[in-house]
């Protein structure tokens, strides 16, 4: 690091090739708290060692820090806030996380398809893996209809999450479709895997009810036209 050190009695301020004087001054609060990158810390230490003015500035920053801490510590939060919060919590439902459902589908696919393979392929050949998946599915269902729900469109995931299925479709994913992309696309379109694959690699997908998505017809159209991921799409009757 080339240091532009000047006569300490001149008005010119200390800086380096990488750090302006303003940069170094701005790093002092982080130097004091220890929340500083190693490289930045080294630059500050070098500055403190080379510029007599630096320690005076550090002293001022330390005084500001102490004043800020004192100003904060004198504020006391009311003690009855928790009671009110817990009453509100009791009457507030939690939002479903669709990001988690992506993660769930993804990890399920990885577990069922990639784990048994000693070398995981970068691109998934859906057809080639189909038989293995049928065996896996017979042992562990991703999605199952809850008790007494045989005539219902409401499904429970194994995780306990509930979904209302608006319509279903039979699809075959493109042979070169990447697993991450499939899982992401399922989440974006509000779609979950209900059943499959068959020996020929077909899956049954369900379009779930979700307020943040376009109307069902548009979602189905969008799905049908995605030739990058979907090679076959057969729509079943809407409920």
């Amino acid at each position: 690091m080339a240091v532009k050190m000047t006569d300490p009695y001149s008005k010119e301020q200390y800086s380096t090739d990488k750090y302006s004087h303003e940069d170094l001054v701005s790093l002092l609060p982080f130097y004091l708290s220890g929340k500083i990158e190693r490289q930045d810390k080294d630059a500050v230490i070098q500055w403190l060692n080379n510029d007599p003015d630096a320690s005076f500035i550090l002293e001022k920053v330390e005084a500001e820090r102490m004043a800020t801490i004192t100003a904060n510590e004198t504020l006391q939060a009311p003690v009855d806030g928790l009671k009110r919060l817990m009453q509100d919590v009791a009457s507030t439902p939690q939002e479903k996380s669709f990001n988690n459902s992506t993660t769930n589908v993804l990890s399920w696919l990885k577990e069922k398809i990639l784990a048994p393979l000693s070398a995981a392929p970068a691109e998934l050949a859906w057809g080639a893996c189909a038989i293995m998946m049928v065996i896996s599915l017979s042992q562990s269902a991703l999605l199952y209809q809850g008790a007494g729900q045989s005539q219902s469109t409401e499904y429970n995931l194994a995780s306990g999450e509930k979904y209302t299925i608006l319509s279903t479709a039979i699809v075959k994913f493109a042979d070169n479709a990447q697993m991450e992309k499939v899982a992401e696309y399922l989440d974006d379109t509000g779609t979950i895997i209900i059943d499959g694959p068959t020996a020929s690699g077909l899956f049954v997908l369900g379009f779930i009810e979700r307020d943040d998505l376009p109307v069902l017809k548009d979602r189905q159209k969008q799905f049908k036209e995605n030739s990058n991921l979907i090679s076959q799409f057969i729509l079943k009757a809407n409920k």
Partner: protein, 190 residues
């Protein structure tokens, strides 16, 4: 408890929250409410509203626990929610004041800065000057000095690039200097 353990503990609590465990909410609140309350109160300077916003922050945390992906620490996440809610409240308050014509009528009935500053020692003078900073500058000063966040953590809370934080902190300190100078206290710059 060291910082690493503390972060792990927070992540555990978030996992329990995702599963609807209300007792985890109590623990998370106990761990963070004081810090969050102070941050909000220093932004909006209204104790009653600060209580309401703290409640909203934790209720949001409960409601959307499932969206927490652990990309940032729970502390950073909660502070970011707090900052956004405080800024949103301040914006609404300003709009309401403007529409009521209160802005022109607002007068500072406190002592003039110079008299106020002369009353105290150096610490008092600095605290007074810090309290006169804009919300933007006050936030960065509080997050760096009191909450001891790194540049990247502050950038995440304020949703600005990391380089902006350094510049903002520099100008916050410069403003502090100017407020003190205006009140007749010159401690030199920078």
């Amino acid at each position: 408890m060291n910082e690493h353990n503390s972060k792990d503990r927070d992540v555990d609590l978030m996992e329990r929250l995702k599963n609807g465990d209300q007792s985890a909410m109590q623990v998370l609140y106990a761990r963070h409410y004081q810090r969050i309350y102070r941050f909000i109160l220093r932004q909006i300077k209204d104790e009653i509203m600060a209580e309401d916003i703290v409640n909203e922050v934790f209720l949001d945390c409960w409601r959307s626990a499932g969206k927490f992906e652990g990309r940032s620490s729970v502390t950073t996440w909660l502070t970011a929610i707090s900052y956004n809610k405080s800024i949103s409240y301040l914006r609404k308050r300003r709009e309401a004041q403007m529409s009521d014509g209160q802005a022109e009528a607002m007068v500072d009935d406190a002592d003039s800065p110079q008299i106020e500053l002369m009353k105290g020692d150096k610490g008092d003078q600095l605290r007074y000057a810090i309290s006169k900073l804009s919300e933007t500058h006050a936030a960065v000063i509080d997050l760096a000095y009191y909450h001891e966040m790194s540049i990247n953590e502050i950038a995440e809370v304020l949703d600005v690039p990391a380089n902006t934080i350094k510049t903002r902190l520099f100008h916050a300190r410069k403003n502090l200097h100017e407020i003190l100078c205006d009140a007749g206290v010159d401690r030199g710059w920078p």
